[in-house]
Symmetry: C2
Subunit: 334 residues, 2 copies
């Protein structure tokens, strides 16, 4: 049992965030979800719930500590910003609400008023129009924690697989140049530590994907494996981390091989996200490792195109809430 609630940010109110929060709350007992509150948006949440025929009593609260008592009977929503619900029609006002909710939920978690942070999906380009000058929510949260965004490591976690993209939002052509021994080592250490501390894996096994086809085939198709990746692996092994590779990336996520590791370190965005979304689409969680707080997020976007239609699957948000609760219990004790 957690000491306090999780903080959930609304996401873009024109996206699927609000309706999925309502859907998750409606299944709180059935799935034994940890208690959470939403930062702002009571009217948006109530209206979004109606589009899915969810009966959603909203309990306006003024402090996170009030959430535990009312979570069973109503969705606790922190008094603050609100707006109109216009699914599929993102607006400047909606972006401002999304940013206010993210800012407040993050602040409360950093200050220890919430046990963990779960962020709803935003549209980065739209948030940029209202003053959000970060590449994504991960970097925003890292800065709020006083952590160098380079030390905030994105891990994608599903029931089948955990993958970590070591480079993220850069053109594919720049990936080889962006990789370095130092990068692999720094992020490898953060992943190993997080699997022990937050995921309860006493001796985590890491697998490292190669950059080039067939892991470069002895240098015939690229030399980054020998020049950059293998030395970094050797150094991490020397520190006692159970890490192996580089393995040809195409076979690494095949049924038998994916059972041999707890997380795969991947060289670029799609190498990590293709297998995760192919295998764990409706239950993939984006976890930020290396922070003083616990932060998770569903591994999907705002999905403006289907917002308000009832088609969006709450599986990933539910998995993000559950994982945030589990990690917090492990890190802070039950």
């Amino acid at each position: 049992m957690l000491q306090g609630p999780l903080a959930v940010s609304l996401g873009d109110p024109a996206g699927v965030g609000p309706e999925l929060i309502a859907a998750a709350w409606a299944r709180r007992d059935q799935l034994d979800l940890p208690p959470f509150f939403v930062a702002g948006g009571p009217e948006v949440l109530a209206a979004a719930a109606r589009t899915r025929s969810i009966s959603l009593p909203v309990a306006q609260i003024f402090h996170p500590s009030e959430a535990l008592a009312c979570f069973g009977a109503a969705l606790p929503v922190l008094a603050g910003a609100d707006g109109d619900y216009a699914p599929g029609a993102p607006s400047r006002e909606g972006s401002e609400l999304a940013l206010a909710s993210l800012t407040e939920a993050t602040r409360l978690t950093v200050e220890g008023e919430a046990e963990a942070l779960v962020t709803g999906p935003i549209a980065k380009a739209r948030l940029a129009q209202v003053g959000f000058d970060h590449p994504g929510q991960t970097e925003f949260v890292a800065e709020a924690c006083g952590v160098d965004p380079g030390d905030a490591v994105m891990m994608l976690a599903g029931p089948t697989l955990r993958t970590v993209p070591l480079t993220v939002h850069i053109p594919l052509e720049q990936v080889a140049t962006a990789l370095s021994e130092a990068l692999i080592e720094r992020k490898g250490r953060i992943v190993a530590m997080a699997l022990i501390r937050d995921f309860g894996i006493a001796a985590p096994r890491l697998a490292v994907a190669a950059l080039n086809p067939h892991a470069g085939e002895d240098g015939r198709m690229g030399d980054e494996e020998a020049r950059v990746i293998a030395p970094a692996i050797a150094r991490l092994r020397a520190e006692g981390i159970a890490i192996d590779g580089p393995f040809p990336a195409d076979g690494l996520f095949a049924p038998r091989q994916r059972d041999t590791f707890d997380a795969a370190l991947c060289m670029y965005h799609d190498q990590a996200l293709i297998p995760l979304k192919a295998l764990d689409f409706d239950s993939g969680v984006n976890v930020t490792l290396g922070l003083p707080i616990i932060r998770t997020s569903p591994d999907h976007g705002t999905a403006f195109g289907i917002a308000g239609t009832g088609q969006a699957d709450p599986g990933a948000l539910i998995a993000a809430i559950r994982m945030a609760g589990e990690c917090a219990t492990r890190r802070y004790g039950a």
Copy 2:
């Protein structure tokens, strides 16, 4: 019913090829496999069958036309090269046998004595030591057909997914430079034609994967989508091909999206092979499109490490044999 048999090459005799051929033949009735013969290696095949406790009568034949009559009672093996069976211990003699078998099976298919070619797994680097100077079997077969290897298109096909890597055995860093509108158009046409002619899909739907994360996100993470990929797609659409994209590659193989196309054109090796092996590992077939003959191959290597242990799964070879028979029936008529 085919007019003739399929030709199967042995693959490296120290790998899993021979035992999987024996395992496939043993299930010929149960799975209603099309008749096939093997080019050479009768002793190797008999010894490999014993490691899996398969009762394998071998019928030595001198011409492919003899295969149909005996296939029900024995595995037809064309008289020719043979050798010792030493699983897991590749040798120069073994490489020579593999090359002789490949050469003979290819020749007979090109000359029309066999309906299609199924190649067993080889170790390229080892074959190179005995004079094989092609990047892989695909290029070897293309040249034997008098086709520019650039027009021989590799497609990976499983029960869940078909993917085509537009660039293959090059370093990841060179992929962006290797892509061109002309390349995408030429291979896109070959894939569309093959799906109609050999796979019986009257109006094939092609999806094109983006190169960069989030399909470049309007140029913020690379411009190849707008500069190279989109114009090629537009031109193919103007020719009447149902082709769409570029789509962010990470979502393209997720459950709902992968049902919207018959084949995905991918920008690089691992983009095509990661999802295929994650989803269809033990039944992935490598099909060469754009040739005057039909050629398939199991989508796995020699697996020297488990050869002779009985662990190798014959699913992919069986799928390759079945697909070769189906494609031949469609192309040449029943």
